[in-house]
Amino acid sequence: MKLLGRIARDRVALAGLIVLAVIVLAAIFAPVLAPYPLDVNTYHTAQRLLPPSAAHWFGTDQMGGDIFSRLLFGARITLITAVIAVAVSVAIGVPIGLVGGYWPGFAGDGLMRVSDVFLAVPQIVLAMAIAATLGPQIQNVILALSLTYWPFWARLVYAETRNAKNEIYVEAAVALGVPPWRVMVLHILPAIAPSLIIRTSIGLGGTILVASALGFLGLGPPPPSPEWGRMIADARAFLPGAWWDAAAPGIAILVLVMAFNLIGDGLRDVLDPKLRGQAAAKGGAVD
């Protein structure tokens, strides 16, 4: 019974991986796969708000655009936004956390106080403020997400570095006169890598949620961009009649975020046997 459960668990992670691969491929080959690749920018007012059919699998929107085609192109926006934003926040947050955790005195405390300021309000509020000031552009959304997400990584790496610094192999390296940057890169970073990888997967999912919320509030890329959040916002006016218009992008978000979360869970089981069981739910935890 227990063995069965373990296999099932891995299968779930595998399912996440397959779903993600399908979505990524669909995004890459959107121009080929989309039945109506031009529908991202063109209007067919005669065909507006058609229910799902063989010609339009997920129906059409208020401009007569094929929702399925728009979803495929929207996946590009969503994935690019999330990947760049998370990469930038990791690139900023990890070095800061490493340095702060390695020299936890004045400098480290100072860095952590700075990240405290960012963490004192929900990320979406700061991201909204930045995105609104800079104007609704996809670059601005990415910038807003990166600028507000790095403190999370700094915090995480700070805590893990402080723990790792007390490990005997790190103390030994320090005692042997290995220079600090080498200790950080060659000894501490590999030790905390598993938890970084896990959080990256879950963080990608979380970032997609925030980004789509910005899009929903009108702070994402401007129309006629097929950004999923904006598609849902636009579809609201046509409820309850054209329910498919609002349903499809929401399902797309749900499936994609779920895939990232499941992969994160699966990675946790594989990469971090220490965490198995006792902290299996630390998904997306701040600290």
Binding site: A8, V114, D116, V117, V125, L134, F216, G250, A281, K282
Partner: protein, 333 residues
């Protein structure tokens, strides 16, 4: 004594964090040069009129001076005037606070009341069908976009089934009362039809907010219980004849909840973040809607005010959690 020390040590950082927050948001809102005076003066205003207004608002001063004046004003409890409504920001926030708090309170209550028992049962029946079903539910709860879930609920319960109102906090006027929580004010005045109306308005936004919060609590409780079930004291009590249910629901749960409590801050933060979009969807007259409106209108006095308020709330909640943690775990005392 240790408790007082902890509170003192934390409180020392509160002003610094808040000033940092004000500076941060101030910088953000001035990233792009904008001219609120021009917007305010209207399209037909002459250049001279705009300049006069700009001078009156202190916008002709250098940015650092503006910032300093703002910080001093906030310290005096003055958050300035909303550029759009022309009303004091502090008053507006104070007026809207109960709406958001009522929403957050019931969402948190629902999430805890459902999440803790479900988490315990899932842990006890690990890998059973119940556990698997619950896992699907919690994974969905953490992956669903709150604004979309809200719309889904509106579609189902308001538009198709006609059970709940689509939007708003109440059908006509709010009950008069001291708390600002309509559920409590209506109950105090014994106005049961209003109470029912208030509850019907509350239902969907509360469910929307509670769903991801519950998912988080279920996951942490489950992990905490599973972790604690491996403790030796569980075997010891079994060998010594203590019934299983007593060990689980008294001793194991208490240990697991001590761990879950640290996550309440996270849950609360997510709840506030969720409130921002959920209030926008349900046209709920709270702080979240205020924040969205202010941001969309670049009403930066309002943005600053809201951010400071949320920052204070967040810091207080985290402090309370730390205190609660110490109280729950005697080893920290």
């Amino acid at each position: 004594m240790r408790l007082l020390g902890l509170i003192a040590r934390r409180l020392v950082w509160v002003p610094a964090t808040l000033i940092g927050l004000v500076v941060l948001v101030f910088v953000i809102s001035h990233l792009v040069p904008s001219d609120p005076a021009r917007i305010l003066a209207g399209e037909n205003a002459t250049t001279a009129q705009v300049a006069a207004l700009r001078h009156k608002m202190g916008l002709d001063q250098p940015l650092p001076v503006q910032l300093l004046r703002y910080v001093i004003d906030v310290a005096r409890g003055n958050m300035g005037v909303s550029l759009y409504t022309q009303t004091p920001v502090a008053g507006e926030i104070w007026r809207r606070l109960p709406a958001t708090m009522e929403l957050a309170f019931y969402a948190m209550l629902l999430a805890v009341l459902l999440g803790v028992p479900l988490g315990v049962v899932a842990a006890l029946r690990r890998n059973s069908w119940f556990d698997h079903v619950l896992r699907v539910v919690t994974v969905s709860g953490l992956a669903i976009a709150a604004f979309w879930f809200a719309i889904l609920l509106q579609l189902l319960f308001s538009m198709w089934l006609n059970l709940t109102p689509v939007q708003g906090r109440i059908s006509d006027f709010g009950p008069s009362g001291v708390t600002g929580f309509y559920t409590i004010d209506a109950a105090i005045s014994g106005n049961w039809s209003t109470e029912l109306d208030v509850l019907r308005h509350l239902a969907l936004p509360v469910i929307t907010l509670a769903f991801p919060a519950m998912a988080t609590i279920v996951r942490f409780t489950r992990a905490g219980v599973i972790g604690t079930l491996g403790s030796f004291f569980v075997d010891y009590q079994r060998a010594m004849g203590v019934p299983w249910r007593v060990t689980v629901w008294r001793y194991v749960l208490r240990s697991a909840l001590t761990g879950t409590l640290t996550q309440i801050g996270l849950v609360f933060g997510n709840l506030l973040a969720g409130a921002v979009v959920v209030e926008a969807v349900f046209d709920w007259p709270g702080l979240g809607q205020f924040a969205v409106n202010s941001i969309l209108q670049s009403d930066y006095n309002a943005i600053l005010g809201f951010t400071i308020y949320v920052g204070v709330m967040f810091i207080v909640v985290n402090l309370l959690i730390d205190v609660g943690q110490v109280l729950l775990d005697p080893r920290g005392r």
